[in-house]
């Protein structure tokens, strides 16, 4: 390992600033009592946060986003869990094509997915709303969930499942007594991260929600009017804090399992 490189260190820190500072302006201005987001700050206030409580549209949008997010993350994690198991466990013909097909939503601009879903939904004569949005989110979250779960399952020692079969458990018993508890940190991480992806997703929602706005749709509508901006800032700040906490929790869970695995591995080498 090389020793030190201060130029690179300074550059890296600047890059971190580039990543973080813009996002931090949202919470900063959310406490400013002016209507414009400009310097100098005019005074401290929490009224924009108070204002959020009074908006029933916001509450509806929040509720819609939670509903979509919970369904999308649960369904996509379940689907992805089976798929991840197949890829991590078996070798079979058509493996690469199947993997490519499931990862495809990741490799297609979202607007195209949105537009094609819009066309089929209207062609089938269905009403736009949260259902097509949820379907789109499931499609979009599945590759993410699968990547997270494959990372988890790939290091999994499949002889544990064989040991369970050998000790008299059938396939279901093995799944519930051995696989599920061991996959659990990965499953929770996948649920949390899929929920966040769905919760923040805008383009699919924009094309498919019709009149039932999700939270990003609500914010989008508010961003157009300067006088409504401050409470969007407050909402944004809340969302940023909330997402950060969930993501940190997910990362922690993911590493929790992997840390254990590493420790075990270390002991093996040690002896």
């Amino acid at each position: 390992m090389e020793q030190k490189n201060n130029t690179l260190l300074i550059y890296t820190l600047l890059y971190f600033a580039f990543l973080y500072v813009p996002v931090l302006f949202l919470p900063l201005f959310s406490f400013n009592d002016g209507n414009y987001m400009s310097f100098p700050l005019t005074g401290f206030t929490t009224e924009h946060y108070e204002e959020m409580w009074s908006k029933s549209n916001l509450h509806n949008a929040l509720w819609a986003s939670i509903k979509v997010g919970v369904v999308a993350s649960t369904v996509s994690t379940t689907i992805a869990l089976f798929a991840a198991k197949a890829f991590a466990r078996y070798k079979f013909r058509g493996q690469n094509i199947s993997y490519g097909a499931i990862m495809m939503p990741f490799l297609i601009p979202e607007i195209i997915l949105a537009v094609s879903l819009l066309i089929i939904w209207l062609a089938l004569g269905f009403k736009l709303g949260l259902v097509p949005v949820t379907l789109g989110h499931i499609l979009f979250c599945t590759p993410f969930a699968m990547l997270i779960l494959i990372a988890r399952i790939e290091g999994f020692d499949f002889s544990l499942e064989e040991a369970s079969r050998d000790l008299g458990e059938n396939a279901w018993g093995t799944f519930f007594r051995v696989s599920l508890p061991l996959y659990l940190p990965g499953i929770i991480a996948s649920l949390l991260l899929s929920f966040i992806i769905s919760f923040d997703e805008f383009v699919l929602a924009f094309f498919l929600t019709g009149s039932d706005a999700t939270l990003p749709m609500y914010m989008w509508a508010q961003m157009r009017f300067v006088q409504k901006l401050p409470h969007v800032l407050a909402l944004g700040a809340v969302i940023i804090v909330f997402t950060t906490l969930i993501v940190l929790l997910a990362f922690w869970l993911r590493n929790l399992g992997q840390g254990k695995k590493k420790a075990e591995f270390g002991i093996n080498i040690h002896e």
Partner: protein, 294 residues
């Protein structure tokens, strides 16, 4: 009979694999492949009135697309913006990943989490925060005027191609950082030491060892940035103005106010092909490159 089937199933790995995969494959077929096929067929129809579509086959929409200078120039502009964003992101992110992979010893995971954390915060809000920064009464302009360096706000900051490029570079950074870091971190440091030992200079070691070995990460980053940015809608809509408008904004128009679904479908299809061509070209040239190296 059932028992025989069951035992064949128990013996067949592909059968087990595909039954595990079936929910995901059904999802992809129903929610992606069939809709995409339908979109493709709609691109061959004609919008006759606000609500009616003539379903007879015609390639007229594609002719329309290439005859409309606006659409072609938006396509070219989308590709150009995407290309610049990809290039800038790669160049700026590479040294950061290099630093973390080779110089950071303790808490690497923490650095990595910190790098990817902003990506998980709402995309819309990240784009919006640039509106706060670049706006006419935004952070940059108001600060510069306050300090007395400016009398008038800089107008080129907002509603321009530059604004779109800066914002996209920020918004998709995490996507470049992860594959780059993973490929750099995989490099066995003794290879680099061996290079130095065999008499290569630092620069030569980078050029002949580090860079080629990190190629998979570079390719991954290129695809993973180019694809979403070429079809990005939010950033140009919020920050692009007329100067920074991209093809997606037009597509949205065809499905919205303008209401020409077939032309919108044709435009989306053309965008999909652009993405496919870039993906194939990039993967093909990687294959060639890695063949030449080995």
């Amino acid at each position: 009979m059932l028992k025989a089937l069951k035992s064949i199933y128990a013996r067949s790995e592909p059968a087990k694999a595909y039954s595990l995969l079936s929910p995901a494959l059904i999802l992809v077929i129903l929610v992606m492949l069939i809709p995409l096929t339908l979109m493709l067929s709609f691109s061959f129809f004609t919008q006759t009135s606000f609500t009616e579509i003539n379903y007879s086959f015609t390639v007229q929409r594609y002719i329309d697309f290439f005859q409309k200078n606006l659409l072609v120039s938006l396509l070219i502009k989308s590709i150009k913006i995407s290309f610049l964003v990809t290039l800038i992101t790669l160049l700026t992110a590479y040294p950061v990943c290099y630093y973390i992979a080779f110089y950071v010893k303790k808490n690497k995971m923490l650095w990595l989490v910190l790098l990817t954390l902003p990506f998980w915060t709402s995309y819309l809000l990240r784009v919006f925060s640039w509106k706060i920064i670049l706006g006419t009464k935004g952070v940059i302009n108001s600060s510069l005027i306050n300090v007395g360096l400016l009398n008038e706000p800089l107008t080129f900051l907002m509603y321009s191609e530059t604004a779109v490029i800066i914002t996209l570079t920020h918004a998709w950074a995490a996507f470049a950082l992860l594959p780059l870091y993973v490929s750099l971190d995989k490099i066995d440091f003794s290879l680099i030491e061996a290079g130095r030992d065999l008499g290569l200079s630092r620069f030569e070691v980078f050029w002949k060892i580090t860079l080629p070995l990190s190629l998979p990460g570079i390719i991954g980053a290129i695809l993973i940035i180019f694809i979403p940015t070429v079809g990005d809608y939010v950033t140009p809509a919020l920050l692009g103005g007329t100067d920074g408008r991209m093809l997606s904004n037009m597509i949205q128009g065809y499905f919205g106010k303008i209401n020409n679904i077939p032309l919108g479908a044709a435009s989306a299809t053309i965008m999909l092909f652009t993405v496919a061509i870039v993906t194939i070209a990039v993967s093909y040239s990687t294959k060639k490159l890695s063949q030449r190296m080995s």
